[in-house]
């Protein structure tokens, strides 16, 4: 297993209780696998339905393969004005 550090934004800070969250994933895990792991440990993430994942400051697709050195950010929608 490999360790991934996730940067949290908006409501995901409340969901995970901090500014970052660490997950263990198998090697060559994709964004889709990451989403599944996060939803499993924190079902509210699944409820968000639209949750943008940025890898190295770029919008990441479900098939994007993650490496341990990637900077991963969880960016939920925000509605305030």
């Amino acid at each position: 297993m490999m360790q991934f550090k996730i940067l949290l934004f908006g409501i995901t800070k409340d969901i995970f209780g901090g500014r970052t969250h660490t997950v263990q994933l198998p090697p060559k895990a994709t964004v889709s696998i990451l989403k599944d792991a996060l939803s499993k440990s924190h079902p509210e993430v699944d409820g968000l339905s639209s949750l943008m994942i940025a890898v190295n400051n770029t919008y990441a697709q479900d098939g994007t393969i993650l490496s341990e050195t990637d900077e991963i950010a969880l960016i939920p929608p925000v509605s305030g004005g």
């Binding site: 934004f9 409501i11 950010a73 960016i75 929608p77 925000v78 004005g81």
Partner: protein, 381 residues
């Protein structure tokens, strides 16, 4: 088309723009020719309207249906104490006219809806979205896509802001991503709090709304690189900024017509799963207290909310309720309350379903109703 001219007063007023080599009188002319709609005159609307008016955008539409509330004044710097209770759009219009008499204003004292959005937006060159809810954000986005208008977007939450330029068509005719490329569908109601529910630090909309105003000026005048295809994130607490590259979602369904955005965002379905909890009104609670009846009163808000206003109830925050089940009576009436009645209903539902309580009553309208109907001196927040 005849060239836009400037009066002596305008030339003097805009002189600091006119002497910037990259902006000059051509940039100012484009501002004067432009028609910009500001949707929402709240935290983001204030700096947007103030700076775009001051800068000399020729025609500004001001859209809001709401009235000024005491709780707006902590961040909505366009308004003063005397404006409380008045139409935001109308007050804004008056104030801005005094700021720059060379600007034409159209005041839309109305709510943007699927019925009127296309009709209102079609008359403008560009829209800046400073609304405070998901249904209107999707509505503004979709209407801009249908009408092929640029949507300069910003949004705030507690200490964080987001800015982007959506649906921007560059000089080569390529149109950038829009809101739906980031967030194709909205979160369910209640999961992502608004400013009213989650709070916002007062200066944040000043920062983010000013960045938004800057993007509006850039797009209109054609200078620099607009924030198209990128999402800017700002965290005021850590002072971290980041700009995320976006992409157009190739297999996203095309936006061809406006829909019912309340339904789309899950509103109108009321009690999410149809679960009903027993309720008690604030007047009934007051009567129980006056008669000295034996009951338990539980407050499921957070400690910091208790300090703002409270009913001297036992405080068990919603997040701790399952660890405190043994503190909740099962042999007498228990009344549960929060700020508005939503969290207390969630608490009751959990306690009934998981722990079999049958003696729980939700205080309808919570602290807000108590302050409204029973205790004038209590602060609504």
């Amino acid at each position: 088309m005849s060239k836009v001219e400037f009066s002596k007063a305008e030339l003097e007023r805009y002189s600091r723009h006119l002497i910037i080599p990259d902006f000059n009188i051509e940039g100012q002319r484009k501002l004067k020719e432009a028609k910009v709609l500001i949707v929402g005159t709240g935290g983001l609307g204030a700096p947007l309207l103030l700076y775009l008016t001051a800068a000399g955008v020729g025609h500004i539409g001001i859209l809001d249906f709401d009235v000024v509330d005491d709780s707006n004044l902590q961040r909505q710097v366009l308004f003063t104490v005397d404006d409380v209770g008045k139409s935001k759009a109308e007050v804004a219009g008056e104030r801005l006219k005094a700021l720059n008499p060379h600007v034409n204003f159209t005041v839309h004292n109305t709510q943007l809806t699927s019925e009127n959005a296309l009709d209102i937006i079609k008359d403008y060159d560009l829209v800046a979205d400073g609304t405070d809810n998901f249904p209107t954000r999707y509505l503004v986005n979709d209407a801009c896509v249908i009408l092929n208008k640029t949507n300069v977007y910003a949004s705030i939450y507690r200490f964080e802001g987001q800015v982007s330029v959506f649906n921007y068509t560059d000089s080569e005719g390529n149109t950038g991503p829009n809101y739906r490329d980031l967030f194709p569908t909205p979160p369910p109601p209640g999961l992502v709090p608004s400013c009213a529910e989650g709070g916002v630090i007062g200066v944040l909309p000043g920062i983010i709304g000013s960045l938004q105003a800057n993007e509006v000026l850039k797009v209109i005048s054609g200078i620099g690189d607009p924030l198209s295809g990128r999402l800017f994130l700002f965290d005021a607490l850590s002072f971290e900024t980041r700009t995320v590259k976006l992409r157009k979602e190739a297999d996203r369904p095309a936006i061809t017509e406006l829909i019912d955005y309340q339904v789309f965002c899950g509103f109108g379905a009321e009690e999410e799963d149809g679960y009903q909890v027993k309720e008690i009104s604030v007047e009934e609670l007051q009567k129980l207290q006056a008669e000295g009846k034996d009951f338990q009163l539980i407050d499921v808000r957070e400690t910091y909310e208790y300090e703002i206003a409270n009913l001297e109830a036992e405080l068990i925050p919603l997040g701790e309720i399952e660890r405190a089940v043994n503190k909740i009576s099962s042999d007498k009436q228990v009344i549960v309350h929060c700020r508005s009645g939503k969290r207390s209903a969630d608490a009751i539902q959990l306690l009934e379903k998981k722990y079999g309580f049958t003696n729980l009553y939700n205080l309808e309208g919570g602290i807000l109703a108590w302050a409204e109907k029973v205790d004038d001196a209590m602060a609504k927040y």
